[in-house]
Symmetry: C2
Subunit: 153 residues, 2 copies
């Protein structure tokens, strides 16, 4: 059994889950899942396309994005908007967390739900607004970049 095979096996129930919904298991979806199995953390849509093309050069953007939509429905990935409004996909079931992005260096971190309870509760009580934590991206400058700037000037 090759390494790739093992990686796919990790996601084996996806096929069943698709079928259960009347959806289909296609070669293109297999490729994307193979790619996703090798990701931990965040990836941009463009990067997923590129990696898929390394396995199958005929990979098409529309197919990838549409498959990602389906997988998001299944709860396998989630997406948020990072720097420049680019899509960032997050793999794995670590539910309900936001992101912290440094606008200087571009690094991003996960933001645990507990770190934003104040904001969430505040907006719910004051405005009745239900914050989608997993879509929350907080932009700013990280400690390292703030320090670097201080040292430079």
């Amino acid at each position: 059994m090759t390494a790739e095979h093992r990686a796919v096996d990790r996601w084996s129930d996806v096929r069943r889950r698709l079928r259960a919904r009347g959806l289909r298991w296609t070669p293109q979806r297999r490729v994307l899942l193979e790619v996703l199995a090798g990701v931990n953390g965040h990836v941009t849509g463009a990067e997923l396309i590129e990696r898929s093309r390394r396995i199958d050069p005929t990979t098409t953007p529309s197919t990838v994005y549409r498959t990602l939509d389906v997988l998001e429905d299944l709860g396998l990935v989630s997406h948020s908007h990072g720097l420049e409004g680019r899509q960032e996909f997050h793999v794995g079931a670590a539910s309900d967390h936001g992101h912290l992005v440094c606008s200087d260096c571009g690094t991003s971190w996960e933001l645990a739900a507990e770190e934003v309870t104040g904001l969430v509760d505040g907006l719910r009580s004051s405005r009745g607004f239900a914050v989608a934590v997993d879509h929350l991206t907080v932009e700013g400058r990280c400690a390292a970049c703030v320090a670097a700037e201080g040292a430079a000037s």
Copy 2:
């Protein structure tokens, strides 16, 4: 004096401010400022282009976006990313506020700096992260949409 003239006058010091920086006052910039003078609240980049074209049909996207960059440097506009990661420009000097966007109906509200002090202070002390409040967009579902959903189901 025409209405258009009066609108431009409101922004008359922009010309001086540009010159002071060695930048130039061009017909294209005059058009965009005329458009911006008629905006209060938020506009998308595409909308600004469309409105500029109504004054001067030869308006080019690159010029508009580049001018917006300059105006952002001057502090006249600021931009954030709304739904779908689209750019939203905000006119007027109401400094340092974020946005609240409903992912169902698309409506957006301003988020006062005071409403997010908890988050900002928390991230500064726990991670040394300096949040850019004016770039903060909080997505979720507004009270009206939550209520509508409750009634429907």
